[in-house]
């Protein structure tokens, strides 16, 4: 469980990136964080594993404050995959890259092998295991970066914009990963600008603007027509299904499934 209590973060140059944020993320939550560029999403998730420390307030991880714990220890609980894979990939082989995290956590031998193979299978890179990461395309490198965090087997997994640069197949793969993690009872948190992905894959949506949480609820609640103005204020456009549903007077239908359901219900 992650408990963010009144957290503000001011960067050394004086930018106030977070402004008294309160957020409780129970175990097993499936949470998407959205909001315009610079609204503080990445800054917020970097507090979950201690990469950044609150300037004000505190973050509790499983009931204990993160303040006095080292990142290397917190990383065993919260895995965080960054936006740009090229800022993390260093190994000459895909398999070695994926093994880096779990190895740092102390896994060896068969346990390490299992963790690595499992993660490679999740992202569909089993056949590329012996290749050089830089021979892969950008979208595969991004999946590799995800795999290298998945392999750590952390109870919580955080993805910073996982679907950018992915084609339809890659995006579907990532949706499947989210579903798989959720089914295993792990907490999944993703930052995204892809509203369709957000509505389809997550049970809870947190909307940020200027360092604050302005909306927090299920996709149906957050993308309901009553909130559109507020969403526009942070440059978020509701998913197409939600807009069609509202236009047809079907209520809040953020996902394709919900829209079809409502349409079927009406014609029946």
């Amino acid at each position: 469980m992650i408990d963010v209590q009144g957290v503000s973060h001011v960067y050394p140059d004086g930018t106030r990136a977070l402004d008294r944020v309160d957020l409780l993320i129970p175990d097993g939550d499936r949470l998407a964080i959205i909001g315009q560029n610079g609204s503080g999403k990445s800054t917020l998730v970097r507090h979950f594993n201690g990469l950044l420390r609150p300037t004000e307030g505190r973050v509790l991880l499983d009931g204990r404050p993160t303040a006095d714990r080292r990142v290397a220890a917190l990383a065993a609980r919260v895995g965080l995959a960054f936006q740009d894979p090229d800022r993390q990939i260093f190994a000459g082989r895909v398999r070695t890259e994926v093994a880096f995290g779990p190895r740092n956590l102390g896994l060896r031998g068969a346990a390490l092998e299992t963790a690595v193979s499992g993660a490679l299978a999740s992202v569909g890179l089993v056949e590329q295991a012996e290749r050089n990461p830089y021979d892969l395309g950008f979208s595969s490198r991004k999946l590799l970066a995800l795999a290298s965090v998945l392999a750590m087997g952390t109870p919580t997994v955080v993805f910073d914009e996982p679907t950018t640069g992915q084609d339809l197949r890659g995006a579907e793969r990532i949706q499947a990963i989210v579903a798989e993690l959720a089914a295993a009872g792990r907490t999944v948190i993703a930052i995204s600008h892809d509203m369709r992905f957000v509505a389809e894959s997550f049970a809870r949506v947190v909307v940020m603007r200027a360092g604050r949480v302005i909306l927090d609820g299920t996709p149906a609640e957050v993308f309901a027509e009553a909130n559109w103005e507020e969403l526009a204020g942070t440059y978020v456009e509701p998913p197409l299904a939600a807009r069609i549903g509202a236009r047809l007077g079907l209520g809040s239908t953020p996902t394709d499934g919900a829209l079809i359901e409502a349409l079927v219900g009406r014609s029946a």
Partner: protein
């Protein structure tokens, strides 16, 4: 030590602080001359004195420019090189017989260690003098100034691209370190652990620097960089007689020292 729990500045220092104080307010060309001469002296002159003096000059500039921790990534970037230089020279210096101690098949020699120490100091002084310059000088200012002085646009671009890579590298270093720490890389603890931690940090930084230079070239071309027009600059660049004289004197002294060393007329301790 490396990245303990600090947040590396991911923005070049000059963005955060407007030029103020003695060093920052110098004309870009003066700063460039200081940086290049210190770097050249540190690199060419042998012995202990030159690199130590260069480090003192750099140290003084760092203090004057109030850079704080911003240049730590540059020290970090030189570490892989330093480590290999120290290991190779200490244990494998050709012809050295003054054995200090033995590790398995390897003999550490006193003369090897001396060479290693001097080389390390030289590299540090070299890297830091360039770093200080890059962190305190908006590249646009430098390029505009060089162009005004009649340096060809291509040449000033090469200078600019080389220098501009450095603050980018610093920004990148912070992000790379964060990614690896998020994967439980522990940069604290035993020296061995720290040394091993360098590979995952240095790799993405270097490959990133290379691709950034390439992107920059393309971006510049896309903005008609080679178009044969003379451009006007908006910002006035402070320059005065004292700086002009200082530049020439420092440059001249450097050339004399280097020539004297190369021709064997000067042997510094």
């Amino acid at each position: 030590m490396l990245h303990a729990e600090t947040n590396l500045t991911s923005v070049p220092d000059y963005v955060l602080r407007p030029p103020a104080g003695f060093y920052r307010a110098l004309n870009p060309a003066t700063k460039l001359v200081i940086a290049l001469c210190t770097a050249a002296l540190a690199f060419v002159l042998r012995g202990w004195l030159a690199p130590i003096l260069a480090l003192v000059v750099v140290g003084a500039t760092v203090a004057r420019a109030r850079l704080g921790r911003a240049f730590l990534p540059f020290v970090l970037a030189t570490l892989p090189l330093l480590v290999s230089i120290v290991l190779i020279n200490t244990f494998l210096y050709p012809g050295a017989t003054d054995t200090l101690f033995v590790v398995g098949p390897f003999r550490a020699t006193g003369s090897g260690l001396t060479v290693a120490g001097q080389a390390s100091l030289r590299i540090l002084a070299f890297a830091l003098s360039v770093a200080v310059f890059a962190l305190t000088t908006p590249t646009d200012d430098l390029l505009a100034d060089l162009e005004r002085r009649g340096l060809g646009r291509r040449a000033s671009f090469v200078v600019g691209a080389a220098i501009q890579t450095i603050p980018r590298l610093a920004a990148r270093a912070g992000e790379v370190a964060d990614s690896q720490r998020a994967r439980a890389l522990d940069t604290q603890g035993s020296p061995w652990r720290r040394i091993r931690g360098i590979v995952p940090l240095a790799g993405p930084m270097i490959s990133g620097a290379l691709s950034e230079v390439e992107e920059r070239t393309m971006a510049l071309e896309a903005r008609a960089f080679s178009a044969p027009a003379r451009r006007a600059t908006l910002r006035p660049m402070p320059d005065d007689q004292a700086q002009r004289v200082g530049r020439w004197l420092f440059g001249l002294a450097t050339v004399v020292l280097i020539v004297a060393t190369i021709t064997g007329r000067l042997a510094l301790p």
